[in-house]
């Protein structure tokens, strides 16, 4: 049992981890072909796993409807939404356009799916305002720095900011857009790079932990 649950999966992880690592330093066509093959395997596994996900989704919502759990009415929309796309797709043979005409599938995509996506994305604007309001409450020195930097960036993006700047601080010889660009290009990039270096080192170490079998939690216990 240990062989099947632990040793064979670990051997697969080690071999494929090392081969993938080595292929970074080997530009030979065989190395490229290996990476392509692994990528294809991944796609095949993903396709089958999607069926598993779909089954899980239907099972969860079916169980909720069956036991009349809280908000079970929303679960009905999972099936309604599924049918609203799958039935037109079958009728339209998977095509969104038939010549110059829109098929039922194309109609459902344009007027249901895309509209809902655009709505969700548009909601982001309101969330940005509410989160900005929360973060601009000055409670500490760091919050003060954040507020000042954000204020400069906000004012730098609108004409009135430049007008105000030239009237009040024009004598300094610097422009608001110049200051805004400096904040974006220097301290902001420096901070980002610091985070990125930490992430890169962390990713290397995490990969080594997995490839060399130090971290085996994903394999479960013996």
């Amino acid at each position: 049992m240990k062989l099947i649950k632990k040793q064979i999966p670990f051997a697969i992880v080690f071999v494929f981890g090392m081969l993938t690592l080595v292929s970074y330093y080997v530009p030979h066509p065989r190395s490229v072909a290996f990476l392509d093959t692994v990528s294809q395997w991944e796609n095949i596994v993903s396709s089958f796993a999607f069926l598993l996900g779909l089954f899980s989704l239907f099972y969860t919502h079916y169980a909720k409807i069956k036991r009349k759990g809280d908000g079970w009415g929303y679960s009905l929309f999972v099936f309604v939404g599924f049918l609203a796309v799958v039935v037109p797709a079958v009728i339209s043979h998977g095509r969104q356009m038939s010549g110059a005409d829109m098929t039922p599938l194309g109609w459902s995509f344009r007027y249901i799916y895309n509209t809902l996506l655009a709505t969700m994305f548009a909601v982001l604007a309101f969330y940005i305002v509410s989160t900005a309001y929360r973060s601009f409450r000055i409670k500490s020195m760091q919050a003060m720095v954040l507020f000042v930097a954000a204020l400069i960036l906000i004012l730098g993006r609108v004409p009135i900011g430049e007008i105000l700047w030239s009237k009040v601080l024009g004598w300094t010889g610097h422009s608001l857009s110049g200051l805004m660009n400096w904040i974006v290009d220097v301290p902001s990039v420096a901070g980002k790079r610091g985070i990125m270096i930490g992430i890169a080192v962390g990713a290397v170490v995490t990969s080594l932990k997995i490839v060399f079998g130090i971290e085996r939690q994903y394999l479960g216990k013996d």
Partner: protein
């Protein structure tokens, strides 16, 4: 001490061996400059050599010929290539005589010895012939143009492009990797012998508080692993954290929900959560619907989770893994519902959104460290020391490299500047 010496010796050996490894294949002697007749109207020839472009997959040729001192602003070169035995010439490139010098080839000093006294051109065959089949013999020639008129042509050279077995230009990367692997094993063996001090991470210490709060309130905990797949380190790190969080949830007899974007991640997380419930001695509390698939569409996924958070008002929300635009959509709804929120991602431009809307945020590498930190296993904790060592190396590298480049620029030591930038370059 012994290891340090070993690492230094290895690095010195690799650098010393580099010029030998980088040597051009036999039979391709470095072109020798010929004295050119000054401003001679007579047809000029070029000492052309053609060979496989080193360190690539095999789709390019490297052409070199000496710079002619008589070339002026009106001189240009046109390169022809053919895959046939006779005729079939295609124009591969055309450029002025001042361009494509040996120093323009973007390879580090240990892999390339080009000079400004020669022309060097990487001729991409895939762009000309589609997928260039390996082993095909190509014929190349170079024409010299004076004010747009061909005045001479080089002799025809043949060469084959083939796949190489080693990216010598990535030697610096390999050396760095070897050093990190050595330090990794030293740290692991050290961890077996005695304990390691690990600094506290506030976001992870707050996990107990969040789960305790959920238990007291009798409300669920949401753990969102993001929209990444299992090939991403952040998603893998998220599954490690989920293991520790769900173990605590099982111990406290609280309830956790894990909505998924990727079915493979869901399958892995099912095993992880089931294992955690077993380890906590509460296998009876495990339910299959703890992990549920939502959607493989980013905004559908976010909308669905937003709906669940709004209706169920969870006591705690964890957002750990790979997030894009949905980061704020999720965390802002969680904040509005009054949940204690802990987030972690390695996508640096999503971090500000989590900072502003969550109580605690794990920044990049802290996400990777979280699983080890929570499990407190010495072997896993030792990896955190390696992360710190890596950062130390980067800090020293940046400081020393910066000082050397500044010195080189100040004193006009261009070879020093090139040396330092090549050493730290990611090829």
């Amino acid at each position: 001490m012994k290891n340090n010496r070993l690492v230094c010796a290895l690095f010195a050996f690799l650098l010393a061996a580099a010029p030998v490894l980088a040597a051009r294949p036999a039979g391709h002697a470095k072109p020798v400059s010929k004295p050119a007749a000054k401003a001679s109207p007579a047809p000029r020839t070029v000492g052309l050599t053609a060979e496989d472009m080193p360190y690539d997959v095999g789709g390019a040729l490297l052409l070199r010929w000496p710079v002619n001192p008589a070339d002026d602003s009106g001189t240009s070169y046109r390169v022809y290539v053919s895959s046939r035995g006779k005729g079939g010439w295609l124009q591969g490139a055309e450029f002025p005589a001042s361009a494509n010098k040996g120093t323009d080839i973007d390879l580090p000093f240990w892999a390339w010895d080009g000079s400004a006294s020669e022309h060097a051109l990487r001729l991409d065959l895939n762009g000309l012939f589609g997928d260039a089949s390996p082993g095909t013999v190509y014929r190349v020639k170079v024409s010299v143009l004076q004010n747009g008129t061909e005045v001479s042509e080089s002799e025809v050279k043949t060469a084959r492009a083939y796949g190489n077995w080693f990216r010598l230009d990535r030697l610096n990367n390999l050396v760095m990797l070897i050093i990190i692997v050595i330090v990794f094993f030293v740290a692991v063996s050290h961890a077996k012998r005695k304990g390691l001090f690990i600094r506290r991470i506030a976001g992870l210490d707050a996990i107990d508080e969040a789960i305790g709060r959920a238990t007291e309130m009798g409300k669920p905990i949401y753990y969102v692993p993001g929209i990444g797949d299992m090939t991403l380190v952040s998603t893998i790190a998220s599954t490690f954290i989920l293991g520790e969080v769900s173990k605590k949830v099982a111990q406290y007899d609280s309830f956790i929900k894990v909505p998924h974007y990727d079915p493979i991640v869901m399958t892995v997380c099912k095993e992880v959560v089931k294992q955690s419930y077993l380890e906590a001695g509460r296998p009876d509390s495990y339910r299959d619907d703890i992990n549920q698939f939502i959607s493989q569409d980013q905004f559908s996924y976010a909308a669905s989770i937003d709906g669940m958070i709004t209706r169920e008002k969870p006591a705690a929300c964890f957002f750990m893994g790979y997030f894009m635009a949905e980061s704020l959509l999720l965390s802002e709804v969680g904040a509005a519902s009054g949940a204690i929120q802990i987030a972690g991602t390695d996508i640096e431009y999503q971090l500000p959104f989590f900072f502003t809307s969550c109580d605690y945020t794990l920044i990049g590498e802290e996400l990777y460290a979280a699983g080890a930190y929570l499990s407190k296993e010495p072997m896993l904790l030792s990896a955190l020391k390696v992360q710190d060592f890596g950062k130390l190396v980067v800090m020293l590298g940046v400081s020393i490299g910066l000082a050397l480049v500044l010195l080189g620029q100040w004193q006009h030591w261009h070879s020093l500047v090139n040396f330092v930038t090549d050493i730290f370059k990611a090829n």
